[in-house]
Symmetry: D2
């Protein structure tokens, strides 16, 4: 049997492997392996693109402060139903997160946490790279992609250290605290030549220094903040309102969610990061500033991992007459997010094979705040983003007009 | 002063001139003439395309069973606010609908109605053509477009008379009753070389015989059934659900409206015509049959000309987990419809100048059931329709990504 | 051990024992026996009234056209979760519905159904009484109550046969077809001295002849049509709107549900019965006719046993200014209905012990169309109904002001 | 002509006379005088109670920092429609607010404001009493009632000065800053023997010292915070959920409003006062603590004086199964509030005639946080409150069961 027949296996190294999204993604791949044909929710499931790794050929590893195995973690998150938990339990129990790597520069020692303290930033980066190498070696993996699914970090002040590769290198050497944990992981990925996708609002590969390093190093990067619920709806509805010239007088959005993500957002700094990636979408699509654009997020335990958004949109039409549109989305956070994380990993891996480097704009479809090549304004309109990815993949365009 | 400097004036001959949509459109043009700059709701307001007639250069005329002048009619419909009624009253009072033309073959004599009975189909067509000629002559108009804004007619059985121009000609001669009133107007427009747009669900220029006559005669036609509220939302949301591979398990739509349109739909046959144009949109966009797709329309007087839609959408995502999306649209029927009628008139006029003939697919954006060239399936996805029009107009594509 | 210490056991003979409500009620009693203390949903759970039988002392039996045991039936209805199905499976598997009794006068023989055909009305009544006797004997039961949880029947024309006990007796003897199946069960209960509660919209003990027979025979009866979702909300909201003098200009109600009940309502005649019990509530509470009161019910499979109601209420306030109230209730039909059925059975049994006869108005709280003593208009306002029951039970009034 | 035949005229001295609620109330009385029979929104409109002053016999006066006449103020608030503004303009233009009285102890001098600065607390109280006397004398008024419709003040710390009449007297003498402006008005009313109603969340007559002074002085007082929209719905729905034993797992409430009230609530301290009166209602009615009870209020300009509430209620029913109820109330703040202010004034006047003193619990129906006689817990359930007022007025009980 010739070597060519062997299928490529791609490792997905996840920051936050024990979280609800990561365990759902890992369990999902196990279920897909059984061939039960549950492809809903996977945007690229039906298509055939040369070089795009199969879902079943993804191998999960990664870091988490919580050391419990993925079966236990998944059971706690209560995203999957009982049958699904049972079916995937053996496979998930075998995956245990690696200790999270922390630079000693951040003096946030957590008692009992699954954590490896490294002597400063440089040592931390090295430890992460070391983890990636061991992951690849131990699992007969052809290539690795890193995906950030950890909790949201606060947004750093616009530090000079983040502006250029040179300043960044100095800041690493000096254990500069404007370089946060998410950036150390991203720096390690770029140094190791591993594509990096950021599903969180944290600043990471989108720091100008790191984006430039990725470009120079030939490493594809993408982000940031997965577009799953309310912002998805915004980027779908706003282009239509614009096309009909219906003026948006105000857009009030409120969210209730009861999972760890929601709890993390009780911290005002994290909430700020989140609201940041949600905010500019509307003005960008409409072409004018919506002054009464309000976004609320509230931690509300009865919702659990489910998430609910209520939007009220005030619009003016012909001759100034006013109308209202209200959208109530009862969705499931991790169910929407997990398949996007899988697609981002697959496309980043393909981008690496195709020799792409730096920010991958064709992935804009999956992000609230898409990274772009230097200086370019991001595209937010959902259908345009859809076309960008279809074109990059070489699929017929417009994708939605196939019938 | 050279002749070239004179602005083209285009007549809009409306079937149903006294209705809420038509009076709103006519009043709107009057208000636009005053330069108050209320361009919201007009999809093509901001663009510049050579040959596209200005809103202020549209001249209104048309037929209605109710002979009251447009100022009185507008006051009854209660769509405009008091200021707008007052401002436009002098101009609208000067417009009085022509008697509706009816073939004596339909023995539906209405006491006291503003109606001209013609001796059979042929005579009716001739009378309509005559009206068009007089309209042009009396108003210093360069060209005329006909727009159907009348009440919905019942859908005829699939009669042989409607299939070919030859069969249609015979049927006209024989006063065949499978040729309804809307078709007589459409036939007259085509014979007179006047572009025809059908904003209602009635069968008219979409009868194969008439579509073919339009093509042969070099007359642009478009339709049918204006896409204003709930169906608009469907064609905006469904492509996004498809792009995210979220499977639609069911879509329940209900509408309440209290204007004459709503009352007309209390007649089961008219309702059927309406539901017909609403029905296939979803399956066509999604690529599979949604078995639990239900559309209800109810006449509910407290809503008046306002219209309210409530949609419940059941979707399945990753690993079969189910979610719900609910949309409540509190809209104004005529406010949404009137500017679309204006744009259809303008684009049809431009199509005529460009030498286009037959069904104008670039207008799909404005219709629930877009007419297409022979045999082609209609495009329903809103953003693709938007692009089709932008391309035809020669505007930059994608229109929504201009920033 | 003195006899006095033995707890009273009451049999609940259910028409439609295999349905979703009945199996949920029977399973619920099993779960309550385990003492897991899940008393939510049971309106009378926390109170202590002498003579009121305990939930755990209810014994289930009854008729159904489907002969499968209750464990299998419950599994099909998918109302309970997997754990609950598993826990109650042994107990429910031991209960198998008796053959439904049918008078041969209705020539509706159903192949393979769990059915006993009796030679005419009289024989059918005797067979039902016989079933009741055997139920009591076989289960060491002190008393029996009959509850109708079967599918909705069409409403008969106002036949003379239903007006007086005498006419009814003749009609039974003559196998008059204006006496439907539900009435035969009710007649049997009354004849056997067994209290009868009607949770469906079918005409049964509310036929004047049967109500009078119940009164004469000293048998408590109650009905009809359990008040669970949308109508419950109506009778809660309407009294408040009245108290604030907010005028109801219109009330649009739509329902989607996907269980057997919903499917039965696809039959226009059954739907009519249902809408009948829903209709008059509003006018009665408000004291004026709401002309634009519309109630839609639609069979929509994705909802399963869950039920969803959407109400739009248009109100006028001070100086005629208009407002809107919209209520979206995502509820579970059987989960709301089953505990009410249990309470109705318990209170009817208590009424029997207290020597009450005929319509039991104190149960109005649980019905859409409460039966009343001759000629009296029913009370619909929820809080007044609540007080009527509290007073009858001898509880402190007002119940809701206990804190 | 005997004196007895003269109708009593009652003055309503309003704090915040230029606000939206007060101008709507004053305009409403003018419109009622014309006999146009628009009684909707007035809870006590249809009843006849001896001694209850007629709406048309109310005379408006009061204080406001803004000195514009009521016609100008009403036009700015945009609550009334154009016809109503025009009709009431002459009468309203004749009413100009008196300068607001401010104690010099608060050094909040506002340039250009319609304000009279008094040398300390005592002088301020005297000035207010003086205003009341002049109001009565100038208008041929039999009696006066004071109603607080001003903006919400911050809640003071629980100061000793507010606890007893004696401590309060000392604090007045010492210009103690824990005595806020609202308390000075209330103290003046009580001293002058004028009944006092507090429609705002500000601390006033509900300070224990003032409540006791009112009792001793034979002055009826009532409050606080008018119950118009979302809290009204809560006190209507929660008793029904309790009656059905549906457990409230969480209640998420959000409000958007765009009038001055909303703007004032942008101040975190005022917001706190508001949320305070909204908060305890639920737990009190249900009899247990709802931990996930969240109330958001947001200033959102497109809503103007209209107000919109969206509530999501999570409930558990039989066997722990979960359901959701969502309520969307599109209401008009001042339209709901103004008639309540009128009824409070009328009932307080009647209470004075009847010799009542101190907190008037029969007015609980109209308040979010009803004042009670010393130490008693307030009644929050709407229908019980309704009965309390009906009983006090001597109306048939239950009021809602009249048909």
């Amino acid at each position: 049997m010739p070597a060519a027949s062997k299928r490529r296996r791609v490792g997905v190294a996840v920051i936050g492997l024990g979280g609800a999204v990561a365990t759902t993604a890992a369990a999902g791949v196990e279920i897909l392996k059984r061939g039960t044909n549950q492809m809903s929710g996977l945007p690229l499931a039906g298509i055939s693109v040369p070089g795009l790794v199969g879902y079943e050929d993804l191998v999960f590893g990664g870091w988490d402060l919580n050391g419990q195995n993925l079966a236990d973690a998944a059971a706690e998150h209560r995203v999957l139903n009982d049958n699904q938990l049972e079916d995937t339990s053996p496979a998930l129990a075998a995956i245990r997160p690696w200790p999270a790597v922390a630079s000693s520069a951040f003096c946030r020692r957590i008692e009992g946490a699954n954590m490896r303290e490294a002597k400063g930033h440089r040592a931390a980066i090295d430890a992460i790279i070391d983890d990636l190498r061991r992951f690849k070696a131990a699992n007969d993996i052809d290539d690795v992609v890193m995906i950030n699914l950890a909790s949201t970090e606060r947004t750093p002040a616009d530090a000079p250290a983040l502006r250029t590769p040179e300043a960044f290198a100095r800041a690493i050497a000096e254990d500069d605290l404007s370089i946060g944990p998410a950036m150390l992981y991203a720096a390690a990925a770029i140094e190791a030549g591993v594509p990096y996708g950021n599903f969180t609002p944290s600043v990471a590969a989108d720091a100008p220094a790191l984006a430039e390093l990725a470009r120079r190093g030939g490493v594809p990067v993408a982000g940031k903040d997965g577009k799953t619920g309310q912002t998805l709806m915004k980027t779908v509805l706003a282009p239509a309102l614009r096309a009909r010239a219906l003026h948006v007088d105000g857009w009030f959005s409120t969210n209730i969610l009861g999972n760890r993500d929601g709890q993390a957002l009780e911290d005002p700094d994290s909430l700020k990061s989140k609201l940041g990636t949600k905010g500019s979408v509307l003005d960008s699509i409409l072409g004018y500033r919506v002054e009464d654009h309000i976004v609320d997020i509230r931690y509300y335990r009865p919702r659990g991992d489910d998430k609910e958004a209520w939007d009220n949109i005030d619009i003016s039409g012909f001759l100034g007459h006013r109308m209202q549109l209200k959208v109530n989305f009862l969705c499931k956070d991790s169910i929407l997010a997990a398949p996007l994380a899988l697609e981002i990993a697959r496309v980043l891996d393909l981008a690496k094979q195709r020799g792409e480097a730096g920010p991958q704009e064709q992935l804009s479809l999956f992000f609230k705040a898409p990274m772009t090549a230097q200086g370019r304004a991001p595209e937010h309109a959902f259908h345009t983003q859809e076309r960008m990815l279809a074109e990059w993949l070489g699929l017929p365009v417009p994708a939605a007009a196939a019938e």
